[in-house]
């Protein structure tokens, strides 16, 4: 019996021929996406009277009871519409969203964590006609800035609206009221210098001044706040977040902020094992009393209130100088309408409903842990007096009016957070990079990400 190896020549030729044929057949990958603007739809504000099943695809976890509740409220108002909530875990949805929206089984509304290339690839419906029809264009516009995308599909903060959300995340600083009293804090610090004095007092009192998660990016929050307060202005950061041409954070404000953060680490204001603490451990340590201050976001507030009602307060990160502006990072919990959605009008009606209906807005706070925005005259949802939730809701309303809401630097590009900000902040806190090198490296990674 002859073995196949004796026909090696033939087999080899066949394999090469097959591979070549396959290559030729494949030609250039992708490429059937037509250039030019996305098709615009005729916007209509009604939900009609035909029975409709509105399919929502959201993240697993808190999202599910929250959007289910919103769906029931919507159904109570429009009984021909049934809202069906489907979910995928965050990482799965983030990695698969483009393929889901390009496929044949497309939901009517989808939770969009990052716009990525969805606009460039024409996968989301432009919402401008709906914004006009529902009067969203009369509301405070800073709430929509992060989901406006320019004609190049990259620059944000300008151009057409592509997503809107029921509520917003908001960052600031939580404090342990009992420990804050022990170090003599009678009111939230008005300036960064005052804040640093409190940190020094806490250190002297043998307390852990700041609890923070450096493993997965919590330390990037105070860094961004320090950048904005040392600049006294958030425009440069906002331009950077929105990929405005020429935007740069390789400047004096960033170097100063990185210097401060590094000093905080060296002075022992941050935990010794800061780079080992993740986002589950940090709040748990803070609740245990390990840490006077905990810079984080409003998504922590419901859990903190549950752990100790009235024990934890919240203030906005202090400004650079007395009477200067306060800034906070914010991001909406965005929903987008896929371009292939068969019920775009109903989906838009749902988006309008969740932003304006008072019960829906209340649910956004209590179930979603987020602050609703919407029209400026809409009543703010209620929360128990003295609770951390009430403090975050109050701060948000204040910033919405003063235009103090800024996007997260972490969202500037798809990978700037994991590939640059987190590792570079870790290097900074470990003393393995200088503030100058930090600013330069983050900027060069950013430019590479944007293909500049």
């Amino acid at each position: 019996m002859r073995s196949l190896t004796q026909y090696r020549g033939i087999v080899r030729v066949a394999a090469i021929a097959a591979a070549a044929a396959l290559l030729l057949a494949a030609c250039a990958p992708g490429g059937n996406s037509e250039a030019g603007p996305a098709p615009t739809r005729q916007a209509s504000t009604g939900v009609g009277s035909e029975p409709v099943t509105l399919r929502l695809l959201v993240n697993s976890g808190v999202d599910v009871p929250f959007y289910t509740a919103l769906g029931e409220l919507f159904h109570a108002k429009y009984d021909n519409v049934t809202v069906k909530v489907e979910n995928q875990d965050y990482a799965t949805l983030t990695t698969n969203i483009a393929h889901i929206l390009a496929g044949s089984n497309v939901p009517d509304l989808v939770r969009v964590s990052q716009l990525g290339n969805l606009i460039e690839d024409h996968l989301l419906t432009g919402l401008d006609p709906y914004a006009k029809a529902y009067g969203w264009d009369q509301w405070p516009q800073s709430q929509f800035a992060s989901t406006r995308v320019g004609p190049d599909g990259k620059q944000r903060g300008t151009g057409s609206l592509y997503a809107a959300g029921a509520g917003f995340g908001l960052t600031g600083v939580y404090y342990n009221k009992a420990l804050a009293q022990r170090i003599g804090m009678t009111r939230p610090p008005a300036t960064v210098a005052e804040f640093e004095q409190l940190l020094a007092k806490a250190k002297d009192a043998g307390l852990q001044p700041i609890m923070i998660n450096g493993k997965d990016g919590g330390s990037v929050y105070p860094l961004q706040n320090l950048v904005m307060s040392s600049a006294g202005d958030a425009q440069a950061v906002q331009d950077w977040n929105y990929a405005k041409p020429g935007a740069s954070i390789d400047n004096a404000a960033t170097v100063k902020a990185a210097t401060s953060l590094q000093r905080w680490g060296q002075a022992g204001y941050l935990p010794a094992d800061v780079n080992d603490i993740d986002q589950t451990r940090a709040p748990a340590e803070f609740v245990k009393g390990n840490g006077v201050f905990f810079p984080s976001g409003n998504w922590q507030a419901p859990a903190l209130d549950k752990a100790g009602a009235g024990q934890f307060g919240f203030f906005l990160f202090p400004s650079g100088e007395t009477g200067g502006p306060s800034y906070a990072m914010t991001a909406p919990a965005n929903l987008g309408i896929p371009a292939k959605s068969p019920h775009a009008d109903v989906a838009a009606a749902f988006l309008d409903f969740v932003q304006t209906n008072s019960q829906a807005r209340q649910d956004t706070v209590t179930l979603g842990g987020l602050v609703p925005a919407g029209p400026s005259e809409a009543a703010a949802p209620t929360a128990p007096e003295g609770s951390a939730v009430a403090a975050t809701v109050g701060s948000f309303q204040e910033l919405l009016k003063s235009n103090g809401l800024v996007g997260f630097m972490a969202d500037a590009t798809a990978s700037i957070h994991v590939n640059s900000l987190i590792p570079q902040t870790q290097l900074l806190l470990a003393g393995k990079t200088t503030p100058e090198a930090f600013a330069a490296k983050v900027q060069s990674d950013y430019e590479r990400d944007l293909g500049q």
Binding site: V11, A102, D121
Partner: protein, 322 residues
């Protein structure tokens, strides 16, 4: 021409030229010419279904990856030719090169240590009388292979944390000053991840080597002992040479696991602290799913595959000799 090399028929007819064709040489000329040809094509026919599957599920995606590596593509929209840019980036971006470097450091932990310790463990277990203890030893060593790596990664993360088991043990024996958050320590993060690899691979190597030892003729051990060989010389004279094939399998398997490692790192450190534990597997994942740079990810993936082949090839050759 013909006078120099001679017609192929003549050469094949010579029994000394091709020992495999000796029986054919006794057959009449005509059938000898046609029979191999029909057999040749029928052989290909038999191979066709398997080759078809292989082509569709292995060769085609591989060719596609190579093709993508020359494009700038987000996976959905139109692709633009990128020439060699994606390939240049592998050698010019320090993070990508460092990730490859880390993969090779992991080889020490995934391959060298498990194979070495596996040899020792297998020789020791061989000497044990088959019974409860040797079975237990085998099971304990093999358990990491059964556990999902993600679950193991989480458990190890807990053990390595500031107040985790590792530090508790150090404190208990008075080594307080050596405690640290292992996975976020710039010096120890990569070795700490490596130890997880030792733990996972050791059982696999031990069980495979133990099976190999079982196949070695006991007479060889007896002969060695009669010749006055001690345990050590017995190991080098009988066990080690007898395990050549198993060693090749162990080394190949664990090296691929080291160079293409992804899950343990993704779970335990995400490449941190800084870029200290970044490996190509995690980079490829991020490039594809986070940044949607399918072209760059393909280039790095093809590079990684080629690297694995280059490293594995000499080991395979070593196994085939003799």
């Amino acid at each position: 021409m013909a006078s120099i090399s001679g017609p192929p028929v003549v050469r094949q007819a010579s029994p000394t030229a091709d020992p495999a064709s000796v029986p054919a040489a006794t057959q009449p000329v005509v059938p000898r010419r046609t029979a191999p040809r029909t057999r040749r094509w029928s052989a290909l026919l038999w191979v066709a279904p398997a080759f078809g599957m292989y082509a569709v599920f292995v060769l085609f995606p591989m060719a596609q990856s190579v093709q993508y590596s020359f494009y700038d593509w987000d996976g959905i929209g139109p692709a633009t030719p990128a020439g060699l840019d994606n390939w240049k980036a592998i050698f010019t971006r320090p993070e990508l090169l460092h990730s490859v470097e880390h993969a090779f450091i992991l080889v020490i932990f995934y391959t060298v240590l498990p194979v070495g310790l596996g040899l020792v463990a297998a020789s020791l277990i061989r000497e044990l009388r088959p019974g409860a203890f040797s079975t237990t030893a085998r099971v304990v060593l093999f358990i990491p292979q059964v556990l999902p790596l993600v679950a193991a990664g989480i458990a190890w993360t807990w053990m390595y944390s500031s107040d985790g088991l590792v530090n508790q043990v150090l404190r208990a024996v008075g080594l307080e000053q050596h405690t640290r958050a292992w996975l976020s320590d710039f010096t120890f993060a990569l070795p700490a991840v490596g130890v997880i690899g030792v733990w996972v691979m050791l059982g696999f190597c031990t069980v495979l080597l133990l099976a190999g030892i079982g196949k070695i003729d006991p007479a060889l051990y007896e002969a060695a002992r009669l010749d006055g060989a001690g345990r050590i010389s017995e190991f080098f004279a009988v066990t080690l040479p007898g395990l050549r094939r198993e060693l090749v399998v162990c080394t190949t398997f664990t090296m691929i696991a080291a160079l293409a490692s992804f899950d343990v790192i993704q779970i335990s450190t995400q490449g941190g602290p800084g870029y200290q534990t970044m490996v190509p597997g995690v980079e490829i994942y991020r490039l594809t799913f986070l940044q949607q740079h399918v072209g760059q990810a393909s280039a790095l993936a093809v590079f990684l595959a080629a690297l694995v082949l280059v490293v594995i090839w000499p080991i395979q050759r070593l196994g085939r000799e003799k």
